[in-house]
């Protein structure tokens, strides 16, 4: 905590000064973009950093901060942001902010029924700058200068005349031929030239025409007026809506309060999807933990038997499913369960002469998923049980044997209660993990088969987290980011409740074991 050498001190302050300069520069850039939230975050971060380096009281924070930055930026902030998004209508069609939508609408123009039209010559110079000379019906001529059109007298010596009196160039600009015009069509279409209060834009390959502004935003009414039809569209529920219900696309994002949550719980279609998905999520987690625990415990019991030879080799083989990356196992199993091509159906076919529509029939798809996940999970249960079995003291068994208890009785009255104490919290933890085991579901069935008539993209094997993913990122029904975030928060509440139970359960079990 001492100061160190003068050089180190100088270096330290120099670096802080440099960093602050960068922060100020970044803040200016952000301010120009109007991103005030990020400016605030940046400001707080910079202040913290200065405090950290300059104050001695903040010394412990120097150790904590590097990790804290990532934790806050990528976990804490996203949690807050998820809550915030869950209170909005953010979805396809409402992705922009209101200011962005207004800016977009005010940039739209329409071609009036009888526009004034101009023939044009386009010119380009060596730097690639594009300029046009327009000739109106009545013979007036204009030249573009930046975004403006100004009247021009073409008889001056600046303008080089070609055959037929047309201008072929001026000031280093040369006229484009028709093929060149086609090549530069995009740039020409982008020209938005102002003549008085009218906008002049390209209408066809040969002509420019006067356009009029389509929409104008009226701040004190919070409405957009269609200048072509004179209809007023008021900002209502995330889009500009006319009195007779017409909406202007796109809409904008607004806060909708708890509507997404209410939709999940009360909207008939969404609620029934939620209930179905939630039910399957619970069944899936419970059955996975149940079967994998018993398989794991059974194998652990066998492996723990000192009279069985080759236990270490067996253990290494039995642990393989746990050591394989889960995504690889899931993809491989998906192939083996493939109804038309898969090995499992071939074996079933040879043994029983029948095939099962694995992964296509809802019930069989669910059964296959649980089978696969038990395969993935039992080694964990086996390892945990092995540890727990080895910690059960021998004297207890000796006492029981003296009392004449059979092996079966000993297992149920001594082993299981003791095992339960150390394993139960891990089972609950495993339940919570399986509850959100997106990878297996996604890589094996991707939530399919689809359910006919579902209000949202919720398939027969979707669990809550994969449903969230599909709500948010599956394109064909639009991205419902607000609703997806609300479901995320609901999942978190469920997981927090499970963990809460786990904490209490652990304590209760500790009390129980102390009583023993």
């Amino acid at each position: 905590m001492n100061g160190g050498s003068l050089l180190a001190q100088g270096l330290k302050y120099g670096l802080v000064a440099l960093l602050d300069a960068v922060v100020v520069w970044a803040a200016m850039a952000l301010l120009l973009r109007g991103d005030y939230l990020m400016v605030a975050l940046l400001g707080v971060a910079a202040l913290l950093l200065n405090f950290l380096v300059l104050s001695r009281r903040a010394y412990p924070l120097r150790f904590l901060l590097p990790g804290l930055v990532f934790l806050v930026a990528m976990v804490v902030y996203p949690i807050g942001y998820t809550i915030s998004v869950s209170l909005t209508n953010l979805q396809t069609g409402n992705l922009l902010t209101k200011a962005q939508v207004i800016a977009q609408l005010e940039g739209r123009y329409y071609l009036p029924p009888a526009p004034e039209t101009f023939t044009f010559w386009a010119f380009r110079n060596a730097q690639g700058d594009l300029r046009v000379i327009l000739t109106a019906r009545d013979g007036r001529t204009f030249i573009s200068r930046g975004n403006e059109l100004v009247p021009v007298d073409l008889s001056g010596p600046r303008y080089v005349r070609g055959a037929g009196g047309t201008v072929t160039g001026f000031d280093g600009y040369t006229r484009l031929t028709l093929p060149e015009i086609y090549q530069s069509l995009r740039a020409l279409e982008g020209l938005d030239l102002v003549l008085g209060d009218e906008h002049v834009r390209l209408t066809s390959v040969r002509e420019f025409g006067t356009y009029l502004r389509k929409y104008s935003y009226v701040p004190d009414q919070d409405a957009v007026v269609d200048l072509e039809t004179n209809v007023t569209y008021y900002a209502r529920e995330g889009s500009f809506t006319s009195p007779d219900g017409m909406r202007i696309e796109p809409g904008f994002q607004i806060y909708v309060g708890f509507r997404n949550y209410l939709d999940v719980l009360t909207h008939p279609g969404i609620r029934s999807d939620f209930a179905r998905v939630f039910g399957w999520t619970v069944v899936w987690s419970f059955l996975t933990v149940f079967f994998s625990f018993w398989v794991g415990l059974g194998l652990a019991y066998l492996l723990n038997d000192p009279y069985v030879r080759g236990r270490f080799a067996y253990r290494s083989l039995l642990i393989v499913p746990y050591a394989m990356p889960a995504f690889i196992s899931a993809l491989v199993w998906a192939g083996l369960f493939n109804a038309d091509l898969g090995v499992i159906n071939r074996i079933l076919g040879e043994l029983f002469g029948t095939k099962v529509r694995w992964l296509q029939d809802p019930m069989w798809a669910r059964a296959a998923l649980i089978f696969i996940n038990v395969w993935l999970t039992y080694p964990y249960m086996m390892i945990v049980s092995l540890g727990a079995l080895q910690s059960v003291s021998r004297e207890m068994y000796e006492a029981a044997r003296v009392d004449g208890a059979t092996g079966w009785q000993r297992f149920w009255t001594i082993t299981m209660p003791l095992l339960w104490v150390s394993v139960a919290p891990l089972l609950i933890g495993s339940f919570a993990f399986t509850f959100n085991n997106f990878t297996i579901i996604w890589l094996v069935t991707a939530g399919r088969p689809a359910v006919l008539g579902a209000a949202t993209p919720a398939g027969a094997t979707d669990i809550l987290i994969s449903w969230t993913y599909r709500l948010a990122f599956e394109g064909d029904r639009g991205n419902q980011l607000g609703l997806a975030s609300a479901v995320s928060i609901l999942i978190f509440i469920i997981i927090a409740a499970i963990s809460g139970v786990n904490f209490r359960f652990t304590r209760a079990l500790e009390d129980v074991s102390r009583g023993v």
Binding site: N2, A26, F63, L71, I79, Y307, Y322, A326, G342, F438
Partner: protein
Amino acid sequence: MYSRPSWLGLVVRHVLIWIGVIYALFPVLWILSASFNPTNNLLDQRLFPANPTLDHYRRLFTDPAVPFPRWILNTLIVSGTTAVITVFLCALGAYAFSRFRFRGRRAGLLSLLLVQMFPQMLAMVAIYLLLIRIKEIVPWLGYNTHPGLIMVYLGGAMGFNTWFMKGYFDTIPRSVEESALVDGATPFQAFLRIVLPLARPILAVVLIIQFITTYSEYVLASILLKGTDMYTLAVGLRFFIQAAYDRRWGAFSAAAILGALLILAIFLPLQKLIISGLTGGAVKE
């Protein structure tokens, strides 16, 4: 707990274990065989292929249509960087929580415990939107970049690992650093030169577990990476085999074998070490 079983009992035990072993190795054997099978079709597969060949493996490294080396490289870069930085940052934080007494320490530890309960992928929508926004400001750190993905993984790794390491640091007696501190070393020097070398086992455990976890991560990588050149192995393999079980099964199997071997080669020799870490409170991710 066990009495000497009869001859028959012993046979039954071995048979039961062998059923377990067959269950465990069933898919592994099938893809092993498929990877040597000349055909690329799932349907024509036999457990013992007639003319075993290394063609599928060769194809992985030579066929430009299968960017397998690229995916492996991406995965190693992302997982390796994440694991190394995680170890260092979490060790720093854990050291502060273990050794310093400062205001907010208890609150800090408690919030750490609470935050690490939150599965990061639940915030996937927010993380996606956040990285798109970062992309507009700092293009190399945003959506569809490896540094951006690493940053996301680092955030998710901090909570649990800091907590986990702190427990280990608490078991290292303070007296080992005290003489160094008396001799005028800064706490940071004491941390770097004395505590870290002593904590090598836990550093190794966190490094390996974080590497394996990141290696196998699918959700966030699939949301945040776009374009086959950017994919990690998890996203790439799924992209490669999806709806192509009839055409790419052989090449896929070879890739799966190699991808799994890499982790198995780390996991099996070090299983005691890793399992002690994993069952210390975490569930495999």
